[in-house]
């Protein structure tokens, strides 16, 4: 069951009511992140940070490793300096950390947000990327009526059922 809203607050109210009535599980659409919706939905903490941490750590390790191993592999003295000089190799540690860390963050986001997604048929409306809010309520057939009524009550511009 899909409801399209044009106002933010009505969307929020609809969500809250649907939640306390425990009608199915909801997917909320909005053209831009609004914390009102976030409050209403009340989701768990995003797990992206784990990816970031792991990526960054492996990055910094690889950065130092390649520099040190590479200099020791064929040891040539330049300017009377030590073969592997830690201080300048911080540059490699840092840069590679940022590179790998950032890329794994993006990967984490994609992974958790479930994109790339190949189809968007079910429960999406182009209006969501424009000005409208949407609630897609996946629920058992017997709850459909209730869900629809809630959505309508809160002033959905359009309510339609989707399979």
């Amino acid at each position: 069951m899909m409801g399209v809203f044009s106002e933010l607050d009505s969307t929020v109210e609809a969500i809250e009511e649907l939640k306390q009535r425990k009608v199915g599980d909801l997917t909320v659409f909005s053209p831009t992140p609004r914390h009102e919706l976030e409050h209403a939905v009340h989701p768990p903490m995003s797990g992206v940070r784990k990816f970031t941490l792991i990526g960054a750590l492996s990055g910094v390790c690889f950065g130092f490793w390649i520099a040190i191993w590479g200099s020791n592999y064929w040891p040539l003295v330049v300017g009377g300096k030590a073969i592997s000089t830690w201080l300048p190799y911080v540059v490699f540690g840092f840069e590679v950390m940022v590179m790998v860390g950032a890329l794994s963050t993006v990967f984490g986001m994609f992974y958790l947000a479930g994109i790339p997604r190949l189809t968007m048929t079910v429960g999406y409306d182009p209006r969501f990327s424009r000005g409208s809010y949407g609630i897609f309520c996946e629920c058992a057939p017997e709850q459909l009526v209730e869900a629809e009524s809630i959505l309508r009550r809160h002033g959905a511009v359009e309510v339609r059922g989707e399979k």
Binding site: D9, S71, P88, M99, G108, R117
Partner: protein, 465 residues
Amino acid sequence: MATLAHPDDLRRPNIASADIQLPAVTSYEQVDNEILAILKPTKAWFASLMLAIACLGLGAFSWIYQIHQGLGVAGYNPPVMWGVYIITFVFWVGIGHAGTLISAILYLFRAGFRTTIYRAAEAMTVFAVMTAGLFPIIHIGRPWKFFWLIPYPNWRLIWPNFKSPLVWDVFAITTYLTISTTFLFVGLIPDIAVLRDRETNPIRRKILGFLSFGWRNTEREWRHFARAYLFLAAFSTPLVLSVHSVVSFDFAMGIVPGWHTTIFPPYFVAGAIFSGFAMVWTIIIPMRRWFGLRHYVTLNHLDASAKMVLFTSLVVGLAYMIEFFIAWYGGVKYEQDYFWNRVFGQWWWAAWIMLTCNMILPLSLFSQKLRRNPTWLWILSIFINIGMWFERFVIVVPSLSHDVEPWQWSSYMPTWVDYGLLIGSFGWFFMWFLLFVKQLPVMALAEIKEIIPPKMKHTHSHGGH
């Protein structure tokens, strides 16, 4: 042009940058309509694209000729072994700093005025770094061997010298290019989704759908998106600072008088932000006029960024002064001779162009009138760009031409090949940027929507939060 100022601009002249609002933008639909309207190609656009490509052609020809003949066709005059190419490299890397700074650092600082300019700035960053990245290759004597600077397993069993600042550069620039590109693209995903949903042509729709990774604006997507965006910003912030520090090491690690100084990293970073903002102005101010975006990039936005420019200009100026002080205070004869020669000797003209454009003219920004005068800001931005190019010139050329060995002192005069490649680099940069403005939204739709008041049923809850 001040006379043409949009009525909305005249409201609330003095304002903390965090509260900058877009009073003239009222609804989400308006945002879509107005920003996406920009994407229609115009004759003027085609003309400027052709111009850019022509410049690029000149650069390409110069490079082909140079590769074939050898670097002798450029104006190098030993001991001035680095010239226009390295100068231009540093110049573009510097330009490339504003974007990430605006989108990342200002994001972390919640500076409101970034919202409408950061997309353009970020694109500018990516293209500037792409431009900069070419110059080390153009500059080396055997460009077909540039990949030897990259550590990769090879049949020679040898690796690059990780102690060389140039190898640090390779890592810094590559990382910066990758990350700023990623940053730009991640920010674009929701907006591409908007394009996709507004697109009628099925093929374009498919392509956009592919590029948007099937973004659906669900609350779940937004949640992770916001998180990832935060972390990216957190990464980019030190990255911005590190990249130009590493670039400055190319000089600071040398023992050449005028190079061998510890002040370079902060000095370079400040300079980079300075020049970056100038380039943002050079691009944004005409855009807001031609694309009718005055109510998105309001005078308050420009005012706020002008304060930023003023600040960085003061930092850079301080750095110049400290260089002179240290040269005198350090008592090293080489340094003293060099700085004298820089400002009052052989290279006085370059040094004074630098000082005028980077230190003296920006002082005008103490005046609010001028801060809120787009015409002046645009003119100033051109001066700053010139000044910053000459800053690099003054760092590279006079130092080398007046090194510790008097017998080898010399001069330097670029040839048409140098100029050709310099012009070519602008052609390359603007070609990409022009293509960008007609393909993708130059302003972050989602984020603008975020700061304008949403439509409400109960009118009491008006205004942003």
